[in-house]
Amino acid sequence: MKRLLLMVAVAVLAAGCESMPKVQPWEKGNLAKPEMAFDPDTLEARFADHTYFSKEGASGGAGVGGGGCGCN
């Protein structure tokens, strides 16, 4: 009995979030909302990014592509 419990516990732990229902590509409506973006203001973010890479002397690598629809 103890062994069985341990097995179940390990299985649940090892699976982690895998055992939770996944957000499917067709359920990403909320994730695609503008307020879910990392930067609320695109223009300001680009401005800040420009300042950053001008100081840094290198550009890119600051973000990820895609709009949450899994189509990239």
């Binding site: 062994r3 341990l6 097995m7 179940v8 390990v10 299985a11 649940v12 090892a14 699976a15 895998e18 055992s19 229902p21 996944k22 499917q24 590509p25 067709w26 359920e27 990403k28 409506g29 695609a32 909302k33 709009g67 949450g68 629809c69 899994g70 189509c71 990239n72």
Partner: protein, 167 residues
């Protein structure tokens, strides 16, 4: 020995909930959904026609780009035996209606608010389209929509129509 069992249990847990996606060569899952027209859309009723099923959502930008193309294709190939069914996966019908007010659809639009049909087709992104031959078998699956995809998609449509014996 004991750990082997644990490993097997853990491994099995990883695979729980994995559903096989729709692929070319498999029969297309049936659906029966409320549509923009008064009548419901049933895949079974479309037997003998080439059906282009497109999963879309109001929050998906490439979907918006695909609508004018699908309107064109419906107009061009509709009389030759093509039916385009745009299945909306928004949880709220109002969101879809708002989208449709700005982006008119001249093809059949169905509403899958519960996501049941999406569950059966397992689209990997938005939009995903399934080209179903007149025999009810999935011929092609296409994820996303870009302008450069148009020609390839159209030639697939034309090939499906000529394979169905209609010209």
């Amino acid at each position: 020995m004991r750990y082997e069992k644990l490993l097997v249990a853990a491994g099995a847990a990883f695979f729980v909930g994995v559903v096989s996606a729709q692929e070319p060569g498999k029969p297309a899952p049936a659906f029966d959904l409320p549509a923009s027209s008064a009548q419901a859309v049933r895949l079974a009723d479309l037997k003998g026609r080439v059906v282009y099923v497109d999963f879309w959502a109001s929050w998906c930008a490439p979907c918006k780009q695909s609508f004018p193309w699908m309107n064109d294709m419906q107009a061009k190939y509709g009389p030759k035996g093509l039916t385009i069914v745009g299945i909306n996966v928004d949880k709220k019908r109002e969101d879809a209606d708002k989208f449709l007010a700005g982006t008119p659809a001249k093809f059949t639009v169905a509403f899958d608010t519960s996501g049941k049909v999406a569950q059966a087709y397992q689209p990997k992104g938005m939009p995903t389209s399934y080209l179903i031959g007149a025999d009810g078998i999935v011929r092609a699956v296409h994820v996303g929509f870009r302008d450069k995809d148009k020609d390839e998609l159209e030639s697939e449509l034309a090939a499906a129509l000529s394979a169905s014996g209609r010209k």
